[in-house]
Amino acid sequence: MSSRSSVKPNTQRPQGQPKSLPRPIREIIRCKYLYLIFLIPFIYYIVFQYWPMYGILISFQDYNVVKGISGSPWVGFKHFEKFLFDDYFWTLVRNTLLINIYNLLWGFPAPIILAILLNELRSERFKKVIQNISYLPHFISTVVVCGMLVNFLSSDGLVNQIVKFFGGESIQFLMYPQYFRTIYVASGIWQSVGWNSIIYLAALTGIDAEMFEAALIDGANRWHRIRYITLPSIAPTISIMLILNLGRLMNLGHEKILLLYNGSTYETADVISTYVYRRGLLGNDFSYATAVNLFQAVVGVILVSASNQISKKVGETSLW
């Protein structure tokens, strides 16, 4: 915006501009319309993002809705002590970590493999068709996916029909804790593998074709090409995605689990966020639930920073 910053400091000033105004004020006045435009989003962030952050304080209180934050008694780390010494809390932590680790083990490589295989397809049209089909589950709501799961896994549902076809007994899969993780992770992969492969495909299209040509001339076969050209080229993307995922090892959303779990499967299905929901919103134990949530958030921040540091040391890519 050269026309905007054409006023040279301390020399020419346009007519009518008082020389006593400090620079910040002048700048603000110059941007007044931009500030006006930004005002509404700014208010949004203050009200719906930063005000709730202030509400984190209630984890150090015995919050009473009527008395509000200013009127409720302070109890320090009472709630934190309560759950840190509670065995069930550590079951929740274990469940959260295990489900995330399973997801990482199976769900992380899947889109990468899919992207590489898609990239190896010869027919552009076939590739596009498959891609478009694979993106579809991502746009289906959690409720619909869980509705499908609940019905397919019921005693006379699709899955049990297949089991019976092969001579087995029908099992109420969603009632047994040992199946929960598999169901959760597998359905998660079904829903997201196509969508998650986009970012890897984008990285793959950035690979220089000449490298492949050179490799061919040197006698590389399919497998060599994938191993020595394709994979290293998308390694930065893979690293960043891995960091992001490792940083979120303690975070697991509640929406899908809430729809799939039940009393019989709490021991593997109940995670921190679903517990926060039950204790906090259903049980009205606001302070305690917020304390648990805060603990999870803090651990999450630590994990993201740590994995970022590790990635900086090991390779050159990092988030910041």
Binding site: G55, R122, T142
Partner: protein, 298 residues
């Protein structure tokens, strides 16, 4: 794509051919696994009770009838929820797009005084947030519980989407905006008359992203709404299909209650998913571009 044109098909012989064959097979299986569940839901929803119960409906619908759909269309609460979903999606998406643009534009301007500070102000919220309970308490204190605003306002700006918009605005040629200044326009005029008309692609992308998000969301509606008459489709769907709550739907058909439930349940799923399927071709045109802009440049 250059890469594709140059891939030689003669090289590699048998090994390469087998690989290609297996790859295609794999992709076909993938397509099947992806589509079959939804296909199954559809054919069961138009089949008759006896066949479903006998497990005979696998690839073709049997005893085709539309009773389940008739029941769905006669059901008032389903219509009401459908209407609610449309309302929340429309209002919500409009607010989303407008607010995101109003946030993204100033942040995209290099001469915006305080740009760094405000960018940080906004970016921090992607990593730190109040959490479930404090957010609920805020909505409660604002007296928005059980109103549409509790659904539409708390998520007014998705910072991630907003940053994609900002990137797009940043890549617009500055010269156009500059010449508008020289012609005497102020920032607001520039936003509306110059920037937005040029931003139709990103606005279309954002509209689709946000709209699908609204259509598919259930949790906020579940915790913020108390009256059944305000429920969007997903919340009602949850009651019918996940919680197995049948209330007053299956009244007139006489055979096995359980199976009627399945037709009906699946029919409701179908009508929930159909809008998404209808919009899907448009989604395709725009979202890959949007995701790539965000991923590579953002």
């Amino acid at each position: 794509m250059l890469l594709k044109n140059r891939k030689p098909s003669e090289n590699g012989g048998i090994g390469s051919r087998i690989f290609d064959f297996c790859n295609i097979l794999f992709m076909l299986c993938l397509a099947f696994i992806t589509l079959y569940p939804m296909y199954n839901i559809f054919i069961v929803s138009i089949s008759s009770a006896e066949y479903i119960y006998a497990g005979a409906v696998s690839f073709i619908p049997k005893g085709i009838n539309f009773d389940a759909y008739r029941m769905v269309f006669k059901n008032d609460s389903i219509w009401r929820s459908f209407g609610n979903s449309i309302l929340y999606t429309t209002v919500g998406t409009a607010i989303n797009v407008v607010c995101s643009a109003m946030c993204a534009y100033p942040l995209s301007r290099k001469d915006f005084y305080g740009r760094g500070f405000f960018t940080l102000f906004v970016a921090v919220t992607m990593f730190i947030s109040g959490g479930m309970i404090p957010s609920y308490l805020v909505v409660n204190q604002l007296k928005l519980i059980n109103t549409m605003w509790a659904i539409v306002l708390p998520g007014a700006i998705s910072t991630y989407n907003m940053i994609i918009m900002r990137t797009f605005f940043q890549n617009l040629p500055v010269s156009l905006q500059e010449s508008a200044y020289l012609d005497g326009a102020n920032d607001i005029t520039i936003l509306f008359k110059v920037v937005l008309p040029l931003s139709m692609p990103i606005i279309a992308t954002m509209t689709l992203f946000y709209a699908v998000g609204h259509w598919n969301s259930y949790f906020n509606a579940m915790i913020y709404l108390n009256s059944k008459s305000k429920f969007p489709l997903q919340v009602l769907l949850r009651e019918i299909v996940v919680a197995g709550n049948m209330a007053d739907e299956s009244s007139d058909l006489t055979s096995n209650i359980n199976i009627i439930a399945i037709n009906f349940k699946y029919a409701v799923i179908v009508i929930t998913v159909v809008p998404i399927l209808v919009v899907y071709p448009f989604l395709q045109k725009h979202f890959t571009k949007g995701v790539m802009i965000g991923a590579i440049k953002g």
